[in-house]
């Protein structure tokens, strides 16, 4: 039997509220600098929450010069194009006509594809008096725009990325809310192991920082309302936490088969070693208090990677800063890790960059890769008074120097989708996953 393919992370790209590339983002995360502030992209006066974690001073044109392509790219798709370009440049390899069919793409894409301005136009012309009248769509003044329709498809980003980078192999888009980015990487891992592709560009992108996204999460009471102290608003695991901060951005990784990455002299950040994917089947917006769902995702990821609890040194938690998530996730961590939980470091980098929704899992996977490379567990910022019900070993005060043999990253989605990814230091050997069976 051939051994299972080992998969290397060789490229990282990010566009986040704390940096428009991966090095800037990582540097700010390590320093605990926050990217949360008053919402500036639209007038948020009147909303209970008027703060967000916006991507700042972003210009896609520095990375992508194809102006016709950009016409079809929404704000989150622009983040995706820039982050993917950075990841490919970082990896030092990209699809060429001869290899295009061996390259794949797996993306976690946002929940809302349609721009607010387009929804507003429908309301203005079709429901000015409240009653919906579809004839308004034919009104001469209605800003009918076939390009806007193309831009708003939830798979638009997938099409633009494959087109722009010349990827002709396996391609898919994952829509599992906050778990999307993590599950897109898990899908990429499986595709590579099965040999359906030799290289995968994988990641996630999202922006719900618009009136619909903010009002929806406000209605659910999920967002922090600390409008007067935005930099402290996201404080996962703190006893005073009162909701998450909505963010936006993109993260992409280049994944490839280990031996060929070594053969071409690529730098390997870490091994993407395991994927866990579960559905809580509990409630739409609640997580199970016991951690049921995330428990199975973490156990699967560890089994897939051949990890025992004692092998795990760092967990990048989903850690949204909502009362319910943080408690339930800590319960799950304790259930999975047993007594080892007190010895491994846990942090939520959402404390600095907010919740990137469909991009979160992908960006945080990149954070794990960088944490392993630099032997640093990044700080869980804004933690002053730990919630006794979140009784895990949280990286408080400052980032912690730590050689990380292996790490986990959790992404727990709305609707009950759970993703856990496992990462291993490139010098560590997988001892527990034998025998490995593959085609």
């Amino acid at each position: 039997m051939k051994p299972r393919r080992r998969i290397a992370i060789t490229g990282v790209g990010m566009v986040t509220p704390v940096g428009n590339d991966a090095p800037t983002t990582w540097s700010n995360l390590k320093a605990g600098r926050t990217g949360v502030g008053p919402i500036s992209t639209f007038d948020a006066n009147g909303f209970v929450t008027r703060i967000g974690a916006e991507v700042k001073n972003f210009s896609v044109e520095a990375a992508i010069t194809d102006r016709n392509l950009l016409k079809f790219a929404s704000r989150p798709t622009r983040f995706a194009l820039a982050a993917a370009e950075e990841a490919l440049t970082d990896a030092g390899i990209r699809p060429k006509p001869a290899t295009a069919r061996r390259w794949g793409l797996s993306v976690g894409a946002g929940m809302i594809g349609i721009d607010f301005a387009e929804l507003e136009a429908v309301q203005t012309f079709c429901a000015a008096d409240g009653e919906f009248n579809p004839d308004g769509l034919l009104d001469e003044r209605y800003p009918a725009d076939p390009v806007a329709f193309c831009r708003s498809q939830t798979n638009a980003g997938l099409g633009l990325l494959t087109h722009h980078f010349g990827i002709h192999g396996f391609a898919t888009a994952v829509h599992t809310a906050c778990a999307s980015g993590g599950q897109a990487l898990g899908t990429a891992l499986k595709v590579l192991r099965r040999g359906h592709a030799d290289f995968m560009l994988a990641g996630g992108y999202d922006s719900m920082l618009n009136p619909i996204g903010i009002s929806g999460f406000c209605l659910l009471g999920a967002l922090s309302t600390d409008n007067d102290s935005p930099e402290r608003a996201s404080r996962p695991f703190d006893a005073t936490r009162n909701g998450f901060v909505l963010g936006e951005g993109a993260g992409f990784l280049v994944l490839e088969e280990w031996e060929s990455a070594q053969a071409r002299g690529a730098k390997i950040y870490a091994e993407l070693a395991g994927d866990g994917n579960s559905l809580s089947s509990y409630r739409i917006t609640d997580s199970h208090p016991s951690g049921d769902g995330p428990i199975q995702a973490m156990q699967q990821a560890m089994a897939d990677a051949g990890l025992l609890p004692v092998d795990v040194d760092y967990v990048n938690a989903h850690g949204t800063s909502t009362l319910m998530n943080d408690r339930s996730e800590c319960a799950a961590l304790r259930a999975v890790m047993g007594s080892h939980i007190d010895r491994l470091a846990v942090s939520s980098t959402k404390s600095c960059m907010g919740h990137l929704i469909a991009a979160a899992g992908a960006v945080e996977a990149g954070v794990c890769a960088l944490a392993i490379r630099d032997s640093i567990a990044p700080i869980n910022a804004n933690l002053v008074k730990p919630d006794p019900d979140c009784n895990v070993n949280i990286v408080q005060g400052q980032s912690r120097p730590l050689r990380i043999r292996s790490a986990l990253s959790n992404s727990l989605g709305f609707g009950g989708s759970n993703s856990c990814l496992a990462f291993r230091h490139p010098e560590e050997i997988d001892l527990n996953a034998q025998p490995r069976i593959t085609r």
């Binding site: 102006r67 016709n68 016409k71 076939p146």
Partner: protein, 150 residues
């Protein structure tokens, strides 16, 4: 009839709306307006795709307050020729080609390949082609309802 309409369009009329049409095309693609020369092929010289043609037509309709039925250029060019006389199995017939060369008289003769596939007709379209389309629609009145996209 179409040919007659065509010949009635003077260069002066075309040049009168060319600045606005070129701005619209440049904004739609997008590209620098200087590149949108009167004789530029939108596909071969400016990299337009089919969706860009739709976008341009929508923008021209709005800017010039005219209705432009989708597929208008080819149906106008075909005129009273039946579809079977105009094309066979996706290739433009000799009669069809003759019609096109008159209708698209702004396109240099050497740009017409032979045989010409129907699917490749849009590659002939230049900025002037769109100028002429707008002028024809302005003359025919603005109340023509646009049928479904073809």
């Amino acid at each position: 009839m179409n040919q007659m309409t065509n010949t009635q369009i003077t260069k002066e009329e075309v040049l009168a709306i060319y600045p606005k049409v070129s701005e619209i095309i440049a904004a739609a693609l997008p590209c620098e307006v200087e590149r949108v020369k009167l004789d530029a092929s939108l596909i071969d010289d400016l990299g337009a795709q089919s969706i860009d043609f739709l976008d341009i037509v929508f923008r021209l309709e709005r800017a010039f307050k005219v209705k432009i039925p989708r597929g208008k250029i080819v149906t106008d060019a075909r005129g009273d020729l039946s579809e079977a006389d105009f094309e066979q199995k996706g290739v433009v017939t000799d009669a069809g080609l003759a019609r096109l060369k008159v209708f698209l008289n702004e396109v240099p003769a050497e740009r017409f390949p032979s045989p010409l596939k129907v699917a490749d007709i849009p590659r002939l379209f230049t900025t002037e082609t769109f100028c002429k389309m707008v002028i024809r629609q302005q003359r025919s009145g603005t109340s023509t309802p646009a049928p479904a996209a073809a």
